[in-house]
């Protein structure tokens, strides 16, 4: 699903948000001028390596850290001026989760709901409902200590939405989850969105940003380096690459094809790589039929054709000059 944030009502907006910390080694500018607009009902992501300033931004938006300069509005309320009102409208799931290990899942949910001001009866039924929705029913009355990683993470999410917030902030939601639990969590996040909750998440997993977010920002060294839908971002960089391999017994076919294809308006770049041609096009899936028709019309036999899309890592590389992998992010499947 694609959404254009600017056309929707903005539920989160910040202008030139900044935050620095004084450490023993001097001052560190963790967030340097972040301006964002998140539309109601979006899944919006912050992608970047560890230390990029994602969590710091999130903590300012969730009233946990004072805003140093710039302004932020969440659900129509100024975060710096009226943090209390913001708190009752947002949910926040930190990297650590923070459920009570010695209490049961149900006890955790009931306490959380009551701290948000719910009365006992409605909180009890809300807790029951959430445990059913998030597949925690069987473990509801077991102590959290006995939960598996995936169960715990789902409980953390349940704790974040017990008061039906308008916006849910998730800080690195799938860190430490195996692929299966991760996919399961994504499904739950998507279904939350379909029920109207806006989701704001940070991640350093490319796959997560790509698969889950409607729109994302790439952050590095405290600054936004790129913004858009995952699709648009990837297209901005280089476009899709198409690999063509031709039947070329006589030797002239490849050269002929190259000249022919290079004349097409949608082709940005074409290179002859010996036995095959590589070309960059804006939209690969739209270009393929055209290419096939073109080659067929000139009776050039095609051995194989393949299309590969750029990844968000290419985007990161393009913007920062280094790979997200080298920047210290874990892009491989995390350990279970």
């Amino acid at each position: 699903m694609r959404r254009e944030g600017t056309h929707l009502e903005a539920i989160i907006s910040t202008v030139d948000l900044r935050k620095g910390f004084t450490t023993k080694r001097g001052r560190v500018e963790a967030v340097r001028g972040v301006s964002i607009e998140v539309g109601r009902g979006e899944i919006f992501g912050f992608l970047g390596p560890n230390g990029a300033g994602k969590t710091t931004t999130l903590r300012m938006l969730t009233t946990l850290l004072p805003i140093e300069s710039g302004s932020a509005t969440v659900a129509g309320i100024d975060v710096a001026r009226r943090p209390k009102q913001v708190r009752s409208r947002i949910g926040y799931v930190s990297q650590l989760g923070g459920a009570d290990e010695l209490a049961t899942g149900r006890e955790n949910l009931i306490l959380q709901g009551r701290l948000y001001g719910g009365d006992r009866a409605s909180v009890v039924s809300r807790a029951q409902m959430l445990m059913e929705v998030l597949d925690l029913k069987e473990f509801a009355d077991r102590r959290v200590k006995t939960y598996s990683g995936g169960q715990r993470r789902r409980l953390d999410v349940a704790l974040g939405i017990v008061h039906e917030p308008e916006v849910l902030f998730l800080d690195e939601p799938s860190t430490g989850l195996d692929p299966q639990n991760r996919a399961n969590l994504w499904d739950h996040v998507r279904s939350l969105r379909s029920r109207g909750t806006t989701i704001f998440l940070t991640t350093h997993y490319l796959e997560e940003a790509d698969a889950l977010c409607d729109r994302l920002m790439i952050m590095d060294h405290g600054e936004i380096v790129a913004e858009g839908t995952p699709r648009d971002l990837k297209r901005q960089v280089a476009g899709d690459s198409v690999l063509l391999s031709l039947h070329d017994e006589g030797g002239g076919a490849t050269t002929r094809a190259r000249v022919l294809i290079a004349a097409e308006p949608y082709v940005r770049e074409i290179t002859d790589e010996g036995d095959h041609l590589r070309l960059y096009v804006e939209d690969g899936s739209a270009a393929l039929p055209d290419l096939l028709r073109l080659l067929d019309g000139e009776r050039i036999g095609l051995k194989s054709i393949s299309l590969s899309e750029p990844t968000l890592d290419d985007v990161f590389l393009h913007q920062t000059g280094r790979s997200l992998r080298d920047a210290g992010a874990v892009t491989a499947e995390p350990a279970a």
Partner: protein, 253 residues
Amino acid sequence: MKTFKDTGLLFQRYTLQMLRNPVWLFVGFSTPVLYLALFTPLLKHIAPGIGVRNGSVLEVFLPGILALLAFASGSSMGFGTIFELQSGVVERFRVTPASRFAILIGPILSGLVMMLVFDAVVVAIGVAVGFEIHWLGMLALGVVLCLLATLMAAFSTATALVTKDISSFAAVINGINLPILLLAGVLLPISIGPEWMRVVAHFNPLYYAVQASRSLAAGSFGAAAVWQAFAVLVPLCALVVTWATRVFRKAVA
């Protein structure tokens, strides 16, 4: 009022957590009992030498144990805070609209109730071995102990939030606690010490609590030590609790 409701909720939560942690309960109960069982016999023989009548060893020593218990249970609160900081619990509560004062005081109140239960056990054991009980004095003593424990607990919690990790917290708290303990006459009366010690002790809040505890345990409300203790502990307690609430309100990075 929301603050009361939140305090109640967090009090319940903390009490439940403690009751579900048998190791903690065992340590809590055994510490004062061990002091009674293993320290009192030593005192018996030196009592006359330090100006204590042989029969009233417990009258001097037991209130000291109670004050020690209040001091220790209060100042150990920060260890729990560090754990909850590192497991994300503090952050989870701070992001809710729950009253910051309630987030601080809920656990402290729960600790006070636990402490009073342990105190009752210690006093019961004392009575069994000859401690003479003055009911009204004991009630007032309970108030002094609660003030002392609250003061220490708020101080310890705030220190934990500021230091953020277990080793720096332990270093700070131990560094502060040891001189306070030694200069308060908890186990042996400071009156047997040299004059400089007696002078320095007057700058130590724990000293006043211990002195008042001994007077109150003996049933003498009128003793100067009693009003002095209240005059020191009440404002100090208010000050430290206010500070700790502010620390909760401010950022905990």
